[in-house]
Subunit: 189 residues, 2 copies
């Protein structure tokens, strides 16, 4: 029998694509085995199992997203940087809903720390250098912006804004305005 050429990388890539098509939680070892025209147990030579596979997809997505974010921030500051990063997240979430859902997976702390998670926090901190915030307030602001981005995209992907006006794009733009305004007028303790 000829070899199918399965590698961890191809598996993870195919898993990520599958997630984008049918949803992250429909990504299954079995589905991938079918796709590679291979029996299910064969995949256990390449990934440790279902959870490992998902974890790797999450790490891939986090990495891709951090790369895009870093590229978008180059040469931008202040509101332009904020909007650019927001749009990177939003465009990514809409173009790759499965990968984006993967980034929301709960990773164990060691794995998370070894992946691109910290880079994301770093990107947000970089944006905040354009605003005048104390060290502590920077942390609060990172958490606020991260929460708002993630919350908005999660609600938008869930269809929460689908059947009401104004459309989601308008709210998104105004929310960027609002966050910028908030950062420029950050309330004193």
């Amino acid at each position: 029998m000829s070899r199918a050429g399965v590698t961890p990388e191809r598996l993870v890539r195919a898993g990520a694509d599958l997630a984008d098509e049918v949803g992250f939680d429909q990504v299954t070892v079995s589905a991938l085995a079918r796709q590679f025209d291979v029996k299910v147990p064969s995949l256990y030579a390449h990934v440790e199992g279902s959870r490992d596979l998902r974890t790797r997809i999450a790490l891939l997505a986090l990495d891709e997203l951090a790369d895009l974010g870093a590229a978008a921030l180059a040469g931008r500051a202040g509101k332009a940087a904020l909007s650019a990063l927001g749009d990177v997240y939003r465009d990514y979430a809409r173009a790759h809903p499965g990968r984006y859902a993967a980034t929301r997976m709960r990773l164990d702390p060691a794995t998370a720390a070894a992946g691109a998670g910290p880079r994301h926090a770093e990107l947000l901190r970089a944006i905040l250098r354009g605003y005048q915030l104390s060290e502590t307030d920077q942390t609060h602001a990172v958490r606020l912006i991260g929460s708002t981005f993630h919350g908005y995209l999660s609600l938008e992907l869930a269809g929460g804004f689908d059947h009401s006006s104004p459309d989601s794009q308008q709210s998104w733009t105004r929310i960027m305005d609002a966050l910028d305004s908030l950062l420029r007028n950050w309330p004193a303790q």
Copy 2:
């Protein structure tokens, strides 16, 4: 054989409790059958299946949460109202992580509209009456605050703020300050 006294209500209640203990996606028809000391297929007389069960848990949680929110808003306005509602969500999410996760489940539009979902939007709108915003900006603000609440709680529950300082409570308080400030100084178009 004696009857176990299974009803849809008890099932859903037990399912919600189980979700809080072991996580919403560990809630399974099988686990509930074990808990009621009944064979799995017996439950199909009471709920239509796994998805139906989860949906009902989600609706229960949304309902409980809307009740708590409405109670917290009574007699409060402005920042007090904003903080009170935020705390209701946050306390609920921390006390009932499984139920809270259930509220994030994607429901089909008809079910969502029939449940307590709209009441939640109404609660946010009620808060915004204490601030001077145009009709359209109210919608944007509802989406912003909803996103921030949901995003923050989701990150917090995922342990995202666990091993860093300042602690999550401080950020939460400051974020309430920031949102209040933002609503009082909402940027013009």
